[in-house]
Symmetry: none
Subunit: 408 residues, 2 copies
């Protein structure tokens, strides 16, 4: 019987047939002896992360796969990112992504990613702790030009528009309410005041004076987007009864894990890119299984290579993953091992698609289907059939003998 489980999510793994691969997908064309061997011993199937006809972003797909009802717990990327940056959120808080930008005197954006040289930390620390009409602002630096912003106060709403026009050489946008509530109107007002105050503060920073003297653009504006209300979310342990660790390189996935109260490890060499040290990630994952019930491993670069339209790179990276998976060849009998993706990222589209992804549940005692490969088309004939993201955790708990009884 399974006592522990590993879930590997290979971001954007699914693809479509590629001409130069004779009509095979990168996963079909890649040489993957380990995954193919695992598939033979697995319950396999095809997985629609959010159901048929939905093209998932990574954040919402991960919530669904990790067993959280997205209608209840997904309120936008803001709260996930803010938690990932270390802001402890309280129910009712509004979280937003901030992007440091450079604007001219007409408030037209000259650089949407300002302050990258030094990172956003020395700029945004000047904005952290501001209070406007009883609303407290917490601002923490993210990677490069990014920041997390949290508003805490009474009567706040996440029904507010983005100030970020999402394109350069456009004027910044005034935040406006997106529904008719008093709360949305109030939140938009306060947020506009915060943005104006931030602009003043950033304009006057010594650091920006130095940049100007160097002939560089100052980081003098904080653009906002993705407002989301934090309604509270049960920890992974509360939700499923499993203690859990996260092994990831890319910061969004660490944020998701923190958001769900997982133990988040910093892995040397885990970069979130194709050069990432997968052996190190897998070794640390196996180590975590000594004390944890569940380990979530995230592997990013397959998605990035799909977005680059680079099937050769994606194929090579899949082979790198498969090679590192030799470490999973001799797992103890009480370890369930699940491999899937959070969505397809076809090289042809250079974007996420709604195409389903293969999934396998591997380990001693599952109803294995004896498939001869792990891929987008072999797994159609697996023993599991077609499932959705929300079916994964119940099936893991089922295989672990931990699913609550329905009826009496």
């Amino acid at each position: 019987m399974f006592k522990r489980a590993i879930l590997v999510i290979i971001d954007g793994l699914g693809d479509r047939p590629i001409d130069e691969f004779a009509g095979l997908t990168p996963l079909e064309f890649a040489d993957t002896p380990n995954m193919d061997k695992f598939a033979r011993l697995s319950e396999c199937g095809m997985m629609y992360p959010l159901g048929r006809g939905k093209r998932p972003a990574s954040d919402i797909a991960h919530l669904a796969i990790l067993g959280y009802d997205i209608e209840t717990y997904y309120t936008g990327r803001g709260p996930i990112e803010a938690t990932g940056l270390g802001i402890e959120m309280k129910e009712g808080d509004i979280a937003l992504r901030g992007n440091l930008a450079s604007v001219d005197n007409e408030m037209v954006i000259k650089d949407r990613r300002a302050g990258r040289g030094s990172g956003s930390a020395p700029f945004v620390k000047e904005l952290d702790g501001l209070e406007i009409e009883g609303v407290h602002f917490f601002v923490k630096p993210g990677a490069a030009h990014r920041a997390g912003i949290v508003m805490r106060g009474k009567n706040l709403s996440d029904a507010v528009s983005d100030s970020d026009p999402n394109e350069p050489n456009k004027p910044v946008q005034t935040v406006s309410p997106t529904d008719d509530s008093k709360e949305a109107k109030f939140t938009a007002e306060i947020l506009n005041k915060f943005i104006a105050t931030s602009h003043e503060i950033l304009q006057g920073l010594k650091l920006n004076e130095f940049l100007r003297q160097d002939g560089k653009l100052p980081a003098n504006y904080l653009l906002t987007r993705w407002a989301g209300k934090y309604n509270g979310v049960p920890t992974f342990k509360e939700q499923h009864g499993l203690s859990a660790s996260c092994i990831a390189g890319a910061w969004l996935y660490k944020g998701i894990a923190k958001y769900l109260g997982m133990r988040v490890l910093n892995i040397p060499g885990a970069t979130g890119m194709a050069n990432t040290d997968l052996e190190m990630k897998f070794k640390i994952a196996l180590g975590q299984l000594e004390t944890q019930d569940f380990v979530f491993i995230h592997i990013k670069a397959a998605d990035s290579l799909g977005k680059d339209g680079n099937p050769q790179g994606k194929k090579a990276f899949i082979e790198k993953i498969d090679h590192a998976m030799k470490l999973f060849q001799r797992l103890p009998d009480d370890v369930l091992f699940v491999i899937t993706a959070d969505h397809s990222t076809p090289c042809e589209l250079r974007a996420h698609s709604a195409d389903p992804v293969p999934i396998m549940f591997c380990g001693k005692g599952v109803r294995a289907g004896k498939l001869d490969a792990f891929s987008e088309r072999t797994c159609i004939n697996g023993t599991l059939g077609r499932i959705e993201g929300k079916d994964i955790m119940p099936h893991i708990l089922n295989l672990m003998g931990r699913l609550p009884l329905t009826g009496s």
Copy 2:
């Protein structure tokens, strides 16, 4: 990447095994080299137009397949037919089918299809524009004895019964409300008054005097059925972002296309019957692709032949379709080509059934499943699995890279 799409709906294509075909269906028994070749290059599956256990009428099946939520947008056949006959509907209008009939002095129906010789136009034009207690009536002629009726006014409801008893030699029915609302009661009252006034007007027509002098039955009564409220419906372009043309011979399908704001072409030789000129329809469809994103082609006679209980005729017509489909052998790479049916019409039943129909999504870059034929039983093993009518447009948009992202 697909930029354009063709959707071919072969009405009533699905069937059940036929004794004289050695237990094969008409589609399985027919010689269909073109469709079989397309199937090899396609994502195939089985499609339940309205979901399992639903036996669909053609109108509602088409709405589902064309990507409209039927709970929201299907309010009966009345509004679709009235739009098809050229009545511009407004929100809150009630539309009904009218059938010209002949009644005797006891109001017993002697002919349910009166006035066929001249068509309904010279009769119903006398009823167009009537006003009863503030409710305006628009009446337009349909094919043969048919008409479209629209009621416009305040406080109208579509919860009213049919005056048409649906059988000859029965007395006409009084319209009654089918729920307890004031609106239904009011609508039934007004409609009964309209029917009585229509009877008076039709009785007195010169045209009917001539018919009586000829020893023929007069067209002296307008039977009503299928009351439906028009709640507004987004155009196909608004709904999916795709400009669309409709290539159909049968008037109901042109009506559906007009209802959805498609460009509706009049095709020479497209009769909606087995003698229809399919080459012409397909050629014009390909021409439309020069300017339109989406072309909907409807082929009617397979359904009619099923309803006639004529498997040989259905098989021959399927072979005629396949032969004409040679025109689709060399579509440009950016054209997605979808073939399916709106429901099964088993010859044995002589009626629609709930049996699923095969579907294929054909074109460069789809996850093709290498099936060796297109049929009710081969497509079970396709890469798509079992889908519903409502899944079709999202999958087309997915393959075109046009599906909106869920999450951020």
